[in-house]
Amino acid sequence: GAGVSQSPSNKVTEKGKDVELRCDPISGHTALYWYRQSLGQGLEFLIYFQGNSAPDKSGLPSDRFSAERTGGSVSTLTIQRTQQEDSAVYLCASRGANNEQFFGPGTRLTVL
């Protein structure tokens, strides 16, 4: 595809359940980022993957959050034992040779 894609676009879950959010970056982009955007707020950095290097996990808010990137392409963000405060839009971005980060449309997560 031409851009970053994310799935699902919307996810409603019950408190305590685990969720997985998927990101397909732009082909050939070596860097991939996850951000969280709460209602009416700015974007909060979560985690960053660059090539084969160890990911920068410094933005993950708790150990319930984890992410992996398989084969240097698709990434999955997993939230275990979801809480209501996890409700937000989760955005993925990929970056190529220059500094520009291209964002996907996001996954809107609602925890009931």
Binding site: A31, Y35, G42, E100, Q101
Partner: protein, 111 residues
């Protein structure tokens, strides 16, 4: 140290007016300052970006002004149109290519 403060939170202008959005930062290690435009239900899209060795950059109707000594930068939208109504985010990047975002400004351009 990593914060980027953005103001105002919202802005209403008439068509043809010039919305101005301001951002301030503390971390002198920031070396790249992009602005993103976000429409409802969409991800942010890069609008224009500047490096600290430049004081002004124009792309179409969008202009960034950068004041390195004051650690401030701003976005001006010239001849604003209703289609410019969106939320605008400033951001800053230091080493590691992580972007630190401002809180966003919701701009409404009235016809």
């Amino acid at each position: 140290q990593q914060q980027v403060k953005q103001s105002p939170q919202s802005l209403i202008v008439q068509k043809g007016g010039i919305p101005i959005i301001n951002c301030a930062y503390e971390n002198t290690a920031f070396d790249y300052f992009p602005w993103y435009q976000q429409f409802p239900g969409k991800g942010p899209a890069l609008l224009i970006a500047i490096r600290p060795d430049v004081s002004e950059k124009k792309e179409g109707r969008f202009t960034i002004s950068f004041n390195k000594s004051a650690k401030q930068f701003s976005l001006h939208i010239m001849d604003s149109q209703p289609g410019d109504s969106a939320t605008y985010f400033c951001a800053a990047k230091a080493a590691g290519n992580k972007l630190t975002f401002g809180g966003g400004t919701r701009v409404l351009v009235k016809p």
